[in-house]
């Protein structure tokens, strides 16, 4: 798109400021991962590489990382199923209360985490008499992850013409076959994008997790929270954060490529598919 020189300059300025705003604190964070002292001061008195191997060796950090991955996968899987089911119902059928579904699905993420966390914790321990554990954490995470899958899939279903599905039915396929061979392939990239974002949400969640996790388990954010204020552990925490960010670059990039490539066949516009696929935070 062509822009006047002045607009282009202003835009570039805005972009620069925005990106600087995003990355300067991250750079500071990274610098502190090399901090030689236990106490946070600026500038750091010295630099050292020690914290990275210590972070990798730290048994608790590793366990917490794996627990977070497990919880994330489980929560994402549940969110994928429930989100897809709900979006299929909404996009392909008419029924009483249809408009409310979108509203209902976004509530868990729109209401404060502390309210969701305390409510779920209360229900588990008082009403159901269930112990808090990783299972309860997954339930909590899945609840607010549903919306990211739902919105992606609904957006995709609305763009995909129903004529394919009707043709499939006309040719004798029953509902499951139609779904499996016609609908599902067109949804794959939307599901992929939704899954990635759901996983990301679950991975970094702290507030709801605090209230739904049992004493014996730790997700990575819980581990970080526990060690955030331990002076001799803090640099390890920073190192762990840096490592996680670096690791995450790969899946994020892959997901972006994935959504872009598959988009072609079913999208009306080339750019729109990846847009809607990455649209959901």
């Amino acid at each position: 798109m062509k822009l006047s020189k002045r607009s282009a300059l202003l835009l570039r300025l805005g972009l620069g400021i925005g990106l600087a705003f995003i990355y300067v604190p991250l750079i500071v964070l990274a610098i502190y991962a090399f901090n030689a002292s236990n106490i946070l001061e600026w500038p750091p008195p010295g630099l050292t590489l020690d914290w990275f191997p210590k972070a990798v060796e730290n048994e608790f950090a590793r366990e917490a990382f794996l627990t977070s991955i497990k919880a994330g996968i489980a929560a994402t899987a549940i969110a994928l199923v429930l989100g897809t089911l709900a979006s299929l119902a909404v996009a392909r059928h008419r029924f009483f209360g249809r408009e409310t579904i979108s509203f209902l699905v976004v509530l868990p993420i729109a209401l404060p985490g502390i309210v969701t966390g305390v409510a779920l914790s209360n229900t588990f321990t008082q009403v159901l008499g269930v112990d808090l554990s990783l299972f309860t954490v997954v339930v909590g995470h899945a609840t607010f992850c549903i919306v990211v899958v739902y919105n992606n899939v609904v957006a995709r279903l609305r763009r995909v013409s129903t004529s394919f599905e009707e043709a499939s039915a006309d040719l004798g396929a029953h509902t499951w076959q139609t779904f499996r061979f016609v609908t599902f392939p067109s949804l794959r990239s939307a599901l992929g994008a939704g899954a990635l974002l759901a996983f990301g949400l679950s991975f970094d969640e702290i507030i709801v997790t605090t209230f739904t996790i049992g004493a014996g388990e730790e997700t990575l954010p819980i581990w970080i929270f526990r060690n955030l204020f331990r002076p001799n552990q803090l640099p390890i925490v920073n190192a762990v954060a840096v490592i996680v960010v670096l690791i995450s670059i790969v899946p994020v990039y892959l997901a972006h490529r994935l959504t872009r490539e598959e988009g072609g066949a079913t999208a009306a516009r080339g750019g729109a598919v990846e847009a809607e696929a990455t649209a959901v935070p």
Binding site: I39, E41, F96, S121, L132, A215, G216, F229, P231
Partner: protein
């Protein structure tokens, strides 16, 4: 022709009905257990794990690792910054024990979250200092609920380069005229119990109020204390509850004077920061005395690893261990035999561990109750303290 039922509409109705049922459930049943749990009669084998809630510095690898090796009980601990947090965590029933201060112990016992301790199963209990046994904060209705860990007073700490002359009284942070000098650099404890600090100050400076026990305050005394803290509010740099938060604030120069625990003081000194606290010559206390704490390890009524917990309680007051604990944190040990085991020879003397008279000027944290203890019942209870604290912080 088949008439269509409305399955989706019916489904919504069913769902609404289930919702109502759930509300009913919540209204009638549920609720935490009100029984305090049973006292253990016999010590069995360790369960392999123990989940603890503690103050910063109470569960450190120096003594938790040897414990793990000796008993096979893996130690998992969670640090809490305030007694309220500890109570909240204990109520989940997910932990085996907690190092409770006096402003938590009564509430834990009342709420049925802790079980009495069978002290015959804790051999090291016999040699605990006698003025720590059978105290109102660890013994309820004649039953022992905790194993004393150690005690200390809250310290007045200041940056020796920025705060001169060295303060000898709490007025440096509580007298509005003096506090104004350090506006934005004062560090106060972020918990309703801090109101007692104001009460201790007023006990000395406004004796006409007649404050005896800073945790038992009637309307007039309470209002005076709350007002004092409201006047302090504009000068406070930061309210802290996480120890490390205060450490970094002092290290950075964000704060220059305030109330603290020995743990932070020694950490800062260890990093070479210019901090000072009321010296030994003053008995470690500003002239009004101070609030403090006498902590006891309590066992959860829903402990999943009771044997390991009992082993922990015995371990933490093992003379050598309690000496290590006391020296690392900087508090007076609860175990009398620890005094012979401290690395620093006169540690106990310095910390007045064997001097009950010293502790008369230290007002251990207690749970404020409406019962004033002298016949009247118009003292402010903990709910009033919490609400007042919310108003003070604003």
């Amino acid at each position: 022709m088949r008439t269509q039922a409305h399955p989706v509409r019916t489904a919504w109705l069913v769902v609404a009905g289930l919702l109502a049922f759930m509300l009913l459930l919540a209204g009638c049943g549920g609720g935490g257990s009100d029984t305090g749990g049973e006292e253990l009669t016999k010590l069995g084998k360790g369960e392999g794990e123990v989940d603890l809630i503690s103050w910063a510095g109470y569960v450190e690898p120096e003594w938790s690792k040897p414990f793990e090796q000796k008993t096979g009980c893996k130690v998992k601990s969670k640090v809490a910054g305030t007694s309220d947090e500890m109570i909240q965590l204990m109520r989940t029933g997910q932990y085996d024990g907690v190092s409770a201060s006096g402003n938590a112990s009564a509430r834990l016992v009342d709420g049925g979250d802790v079980a009495p301790v069978n002290v015959s199963l804790v051999p090291n209990y016999k040699t605990i200092f006698s003025d720590l046994k059978d105290q109102p904060y660890n013994t309820f209705d004649g039953a022992h609920y905790g194993i004393p860990h150690g005690r200390g007073a809250n310290l007045l700490m200041w940056n020796s380069e920025d705060v001169t002359p060295a303060p000898t009284s709490w007025d440096v942070i509580l007298d509005p005229k003096k506090a104004a000098k350090y506006k934005g650099k004062i560090s106060a404890y972020d918990d309703p119990i801090y109101i007692a600090d104001a009460a201790v100050y007023l006990k000395a400076h406004q004796p006409e109020l007649g404050i005896e026990n800073p945790y038992e305050l009637n309307e007039e005394q309470f209002e005076a204390a709350v007002n004092l803290l409201q006047e302090q509010r504009p000068y406070v740099g930061e309210y802290w509850s996480e120890a490390a938060k205060q450490i970094s604030a002092f290290a950075n120069g964000d704060d220059q004077v305030g109330t603290t625990w020995q743990y932070q003081y020694f950490e800062l000194k260890g990093e070479g920061k210019p901090v000072a606290a009321s010296p030994a010559s003053q008995g470690f206390l500003p002239k009004e005395g101070a609030t403090g704490w006498s902590d006891t390890w309590m066992i959860s009524s829903e402990a999943k690893h009771p044997n390991c917990m009992y082993m922990w309680m015995n371990w933490i007051v093992e003379p050598k261990v309690n000496a290590e604990v006391a020296e690392l944190f900087g508090e007076a040990p609860g175990q009398s035999l620890a005094c012979e085991q401290t690395a620093e020879k006169d540690f106990c003397a310095k910390y007045h561990a064997e001097n009950p008279a010293f502790w008369k000027r230290v007002y251990y944290w207690e749970t404020p109750l409406a019962d004033c203890g002298n016949g009247s019942s118009d003292c402010k209870d903990y709910n009033d303290w919490v609400q007042a604290w919310t108003s003070i912080k604003g």
